[in-house]
Every structure is written in structure tokens, then in C-alpha cells.
Symmetry: C2
Subunit: 365 residues, 2 copies
């Protein structure tokens, strides 16, 4: 194998495929990046859950392949001068890297042991802008569970039906739902994608309107992003039936500036130290006024906010972390919050958009 | 106590005095900031090694004092709206903080238990620009030892004599010396200041020409920086006699671009992983050419650099970390490196300045 490419293109490719390279594993070959030269120059990382491959623009002098330790390769390439890089594989998988006056010889591994990415049939496909997928992930992923005891909740439900795509995440205490129209699409999809996969993909996607294609089988999903393909296993099992918990009924509704509410809850949570996770912030909602309070061994906080109230007075407590995560994910300035009872969950919707629904369980006091 | 001040001024004061507040201590009062209102509004932090006091511009309504937990107070004030803050002490040291629609009640502590800063006699004083002190600290502190077995080396020698101020740090493997002229000064000084103190002071000092005043006694030093005073204990004992190790003799001298040398050593050290700390980088110096190499289980690196050589060929090995720290501390572009033998230390001096001397011990190979 012998190939010449620019340091910048190579660095970009490494940064992407490294997201699928585990830092610690019992199988050394998985800590490597597979370099392949054939019709094009391809990098692959694969931790057996997520696999990412990326094409790098290059001048291929000789076909071949090798596996090289990801950390070492990445560190070296990032520190090279901004210039052309020549990579060559010699006998016994010895990789030489040359750039201006720098010369590296790094012991590589045979590509034989590197696990290939699973092949995905391209029947079930749909196209969507990468900016929308990126936003949908960012606005729901915080509600994905990290509790391995309920594996199905460690992923997001991705549903595509009737020209609409929906992302849903639930961790047992809160729910985040984000939907969007997609045009010209007859494909149906209902899969649960691991939170880790979505997190890595959201870092690769750019806030641009270019379309990506999503393919899926019963147990794999592939995101085809131009020069880069991400393949991930899916989580098996039946997702929660969440629709019944999103009701339209309410006893009290407030319309409030999101940033005012966020700043108040953030301040009220400052006296809730790590030993006091069980302490809620309590909302006292009256006519056109809301007081956010907290009280711990450290002291007490009282925050007043102007709101538009529709319905009855209500007092209700929440885990401030859940409210903070949710409000930070919302781009819109004004939100409606719906309360049914002082023990039940509240529902949050931006006023200007039908595309979001958040639900947060109340805390018993 | 009752006082009104701006959120910004208060935040600035807290940020400074917090550098002297320990995060974990057995004496809760030390985890607090002392707030005092008399002729002015003063904040104090004191971990018994370093004490910092800072005046905050304020409208004092009522004299008094209280101690409030530093982390809680800092977190609250930073999150307040950009507005006026009213702080008041009620019965039982209860502190109330009001700002726009936010109202906090925080349990404070009696100021009685808070240790006063040691009084420093103002006899032995000299003035110097804060930018110079800041630079002198930054350019030597990396060579201060962290080994508590030789306490004297965990500080920097600060010497003031014959119109010249000198900072010296030595950790047994390297030495950093930075000196500067000071005008109109007859005071003499020879003290060892703890590295931790210098590190905190370098963060408080601004890169500006305003003068600060340094006072010292036999066991304390005070840096008077306008509205802010830092008092620190000194390290007792006799500092190393380092002068004999800085010789003018050499067998080989190179003149080299600092950034070229730094980039090459950084790259050569990339294959030296944490398990391989004992591996040096080796310099092969010939006529007008230098090769920097390293070789470990990961592979080998060879870097060629153009240099001006004066003297004999030499091969010599160094701990790359020590060279990297030193070269990063030097602002000048071109340096001279002097080698006496292939086992002895080298001496580094910027070509454009007499104010710096660095010495790095060679590694036996």
C-alpha cells in the first residue's frame, strides 16, 4: 500500500472514524484504524456496536491495507506540518509516514483480523436533511436512559410513517419527542437506535441542508453521509407505548419566557448540593405570577417570574435537572407548560412549534 | 451588615479570593469567604498558606461581617442577573442576597472563627510592573519541584539585589532562571516562595505595566496589587547554590529556530506512551544538521532540522517533557543550545535576550 494525501483531509477522516474506535478493549485490532487503498482510500473504525468508514481524497500509488493503532496514528497526523503526507506499508505491516522532514515507522497489524462492517441491503431507504437529523438528536438525546437494566430505554425510538419522522426518548421520569415532515417518502421505519450511536452521529453531522440517506434492516441501521457511512446495531425489543401519556387535558397552563424560567430554576438549584439530590424545586403558580423555590440545609431561594396563567392555582415539585436539560434543548423563546394535577407530570410545548413535546414527572414532596 | 454592589464587581472579587479558599478542609470556616463592611467592603479567603483579600466597590449601608461558604456564594453570584446586588446579614449569621426578582437566604458562619491574615511590616518593599512579575513566574514555574521530600525545591528562589530581580526554579533535573532590571531600588531580598502561591498570583496579575509592591519579612511575603493583597508563607531553609552549574564552556553549540525544535520533539515524543517514560529523545548533531529521534515498542521517529552548529558532533538524549516545557516558556524565536559532554546537562538561552537561562540534565542511554 502506498498513498499520498493532505494532512488536513487525513485529519478530518481520522477524527470521524475515531468515534467508533474503543479506547480500551481486549482485542488490540479494534483499537486500530483500518487503512485500505483500492479504488479509493478508506479509513474504518469499528467497536462492533458502531462502525464508521470514511473516504479520504488521495493519490493512490499502490493498493493494499493495514491496521494502525488509532491513538498513535491520530496523534501523529494531527502534529504533522500542514503538507502532503506519504503513507506506505512495508514488510510485516510496518507503516511508514513521511511529511516534510518528519519520518515515522510504526508497527501496524494485519488487516485480516479487522471485523468488516455489516452489509446493509438498500431496500428500505429514506432521505432527510442532515441539519434536521442533527437537531432532532440534540433535542431528544438528553432523555435517553443510561440504566442498562432496561436496555430498550437506552436508545431512541425513530419512527417514520405517513410523511413524518419522529424521535422519542424516555428514561422513566421524562419524555422528549421531536417530529418533522419529510417529503416524497413512502418508506416506513420503526427502530430503536442506541443513544451512543446517535450521540456520535450528531457530532459528525453538520448544520447544513445536504441530504443524508438512512437505510435499515431488522437489526442494523446505516447513515450514509456522503463520504462517510455509519453502521450501528439496533436495540431489539418493543418500545414503550408512550402515546397515552401525552394528554391534552390540563387544570393549569402557563405561558412563560423560556430563558426566564431556565435562569430561575438554575439559581434555585444552586443550593441543592450533591448530597441533596432528593430536594425538588417547587413551583407556586398563581394568577399571572409564578414563584420558583427551593429549600435545603444550605438555605432557601425564592424566584419570581411573570407568566400568563390559564386555570387554577397549583403547587408542584420537580427535579430541577430534568427541567434544565429540557429548557436548554428548546430553541424557541416562549413555551406553554401544562399541569393536570399537583402529582402528575407536566407537558411542555414551544408556542411557535408543533414539533416538540416534553413531559416531566413531578416529585412527591 | 448591609451593602449594595454590582454583580460584576462582586464576581471579580470572589474569583480572586477563591484562589485562597481550599475546596476540602476539616475546618468549615476555611471553606468560606469572610465578608467585611467597615470603611470599605472587603472579601477575604485564607487557607493558612495563602491569604487573599480584595476590596469591592460598594455602597455600604451598615457595618458588620460574616463568613459564607465560598462555593455556594460564588455559584449564586455568578448566576445572578447583571444588576445591583443587596447583601444583608440577619440574626444568627443568616445572609440574604437580593437581585431583581431573586431572593436567597443562606446560612452563614460567625466571622469570629476566621483566621486573620498575618500583618506584614512595610519596611522591606520594592515596586515592579505586574506584567514582568507575571512573565517571570510563567517562564520559571514549570521547573518547580512537586516532590515534597525536598520542600525547599517546591518553591522558587526570588532574589532582588543590585537593581536586578531573579526567579530561579530547580527540580533536580532542570533549572529555569529569569532575571530583570528593576530601577530605583535599594531593597535586598532573598526568599523562597511556594510554587502554589506563585501559580495563584500569576493568574491574578494582568499583562499590564501597572506597578505592584512586594513586601517581605523572614517568613511571609505580601504582593500588594492595588485593590487586592496576597499574603503567603515562605519556605524556610537554604536554597541550592545553582550558580556553579551554569557554565560558559561548551564543546558543541547550536543555533536553532525554537518552533522547529519544539514541533520535532513533540512529534518524536508521540510514540513514547505512558508506560515508556524512561525512553528519551536523542539528538544527533552534525555540521548544520540535527536529527531528533526516538524509538519505542510502538515504532521509531526521525526528524531533521536545520541548525547552525559550532563545535564537535555530539549524540545526546533528553527527557522530551523537559525540553517541551522549556521551549514553550520561551517567547523568542531563535535559541542557542550549549552542550559540554554527551552525558552532562545542556544550557538553553534565547539569542535576543540575556534574561533567561535554562538547564536540562541529559538522560543516560
Amino acid at each position: 500500500m502506498k498513498v499520498i494525501c493532505s494532512k488536513d483531509n487525513l485529519t478530518e477522516g481520522i477524527n470521524i472514524v475515531q468515534k467508533a474506535v474503543p479506547t480500551k478493549t481486549s482485542l488490540p485490532v479494534l483499537e486500530g484504524i483500518l487503512l485500505e487503498c483500492g479504488d479509493n482510500f478508506k479509513l474504518t473504525g469499528n467497536d462492533l456496536e458502531i462502525g464508521i468508514e470514511c473516504l479520504v481524497e488521495a493519490d493512490i500509488k499502490e493498493a493494499g491495507s493495514v491496521v494502525i493503532n488509532s491513538r498513535v496514528f491520530g496523534d501523529i497526523v494531527r502534529k504533522l506540518p500542514d503538507s502532503e503526507v506519504l503513507i506506505e506499508v512495508k514488510e510485516n505491516n510496518l507503516v511508514t509516514i513521511e511529511c516534510e522532514n518528519s519520518y515515522f515507522e510504526i508497527k501496524g497489524l494485519s488487516p485480516q483480523g479487522f471485523p468488516a462492517l455489516p452489509a446493509i441491503k438498500k431496500d428500505n431507504a429514506f432521505k432527510i436533511s442532515q441539519k434536521i437529523v442533527r437537531d432532532m438528536i440534540k433535542q431528544t438525546i438528553f432523555a435517553v436512559s443510561t440504566d442498562e437494566n432496561r436496555p430498550i430505554l437506552t436508545g431512541s425510538l425513530v419512527e417514520c410513517k405517513d410523511g413524518e419522522i419522529t424521535f422519542v426518548a424516555i428514561d422513566g421520569y421524562r419524555l422528549a419527542l421531536r417530529k418533522n415532515r419529510i417529503d416524497n417518502n413512502s418508506s416506513e421505519l420503526r427502530v430503536v437506535v442506541p443513544g451512543k450511536t446517535l450521540n456520535e452521529i450528531s457530532k459528525i453531522l453538520q448544520p447544513e441542508d445536504d441530504e443524508i440517506t438512512i437505510y435499515s434492516t431488522s437489526n442494523q441501521i446505516m447513515f450514509d453521509i456522503g463520504n462517510c457511512k455509519v453502521v450501528s446495531r439496533l436495540i431489539e425489543g418493543e418500545y414503550l407505548n408512550y402515546r397515552s401519556s401525552i394528554t391534552e387535558d390540563y387544570e393549569t397552563k402557563i405561558r412563560v419566557n423560556k430563558n426566564d424560567l431556565l435562569a430561575s430554576i438554575e439559581r434555585a438549584s444552586l443550593i441543592i448540593t450533591s448530597d441533596e439530590r432528593r430536594f425538588p424545586v417547587v413551583f407556586y403558580i398563581e394568577e399571572d405570577k409564578m414563584v420558583v423555590t427551593s429549600s435545603t440545609n444550605v438555605g432557601t431561594v425564592k424566584e419570581e417570574i411573570n407568566v400568563e396563567t390559564d386555570g387554577n392555582r397549583i403547587d408542584i415539585g420537580f427535579n430541577p435537572r430534568y427541567f434544565i436539560d429540557t429548557l436548554r434543548a428548546i430553541d424557541e423563546d416562549v413555551i406553554d407548560v401544562y399541569f393536570a394535577t399537583s402529582l402528575g407530570p407536566c407537558i411542555i410545548r414551544p408556542v411557535e412549534s408543533d414539533n416538540f413535546i416534553y413531559l416531566i414527572a413531578a416529585v412527591r414532596r
